[in-house]
Subunit: 122 residues, 2 copies
Amino acid sequence: MAREKQDIKQVIIIRKDLKMGTGKIAAQACHASLMSYMEAEKKYKDIVESWLSEGGTKVVVKVNTIEEFDDMKKKLRASGLPFKVVKDAGQTQVLPGTETAIGIGPYYTSDIDKVTSKLSLL
Amino acid sequence: MAREKQDIKQVIIIRKDLKMGTGKIAAQACHASLMSYMEAEKKYKDIVESWLSEGGTKVVVKVNTIEEFDDMKKKLRASGLPFKVVKDAGQTQVLPGTETAIGIGPYYTSDIDKVTSKLSLL
């Protein structure tokens, strides 16, 4: 089924409860962005191309607790959206294997918003 | 000429003088990371593949002034390294067209360090 042209974005969710510094947060966001980009590209090449040609909008939001983070993962698995969870090597600031961030999409904004619209901007 | 296996990384340079918030910085870092990844992949597919298979190390550093930022751009152009400068659409926090960040590589750590080794971590 053809879809009408509509907004496409990538959303990055950062765990605030880990108290990571700004540089660490930025690096985790980059991991999430690139991993999710590669995941989306496998399945939705046309959507990813449209997103890139329109500037590649990225929105960075936060969760404040591990419970919120786990709840997001559960909802994302159920949603069918392309996403990736970042597991940090833990060389600095967090323990090895700590999940620090999630990248979602690029995918249609209206579909991502169904899952993430209640999260605040970082 | 074959090169021995060696460390590969991506470096993201953020302009601190713009006083961007953490979420804005993270988004600019993601733009830089993805743009530079795509640039490097065009020319150095093997290097990029090695980097991904080893965890995709990303290091986020800072410059404190526009002069330092412009100096980096000049040195990067002369270096031949794969890199991309992020120009923000300027919808929030900065004026449209403001250059906010630079992504370098993934490329050999030893070559990137020749240009960026004096910069501090963000």
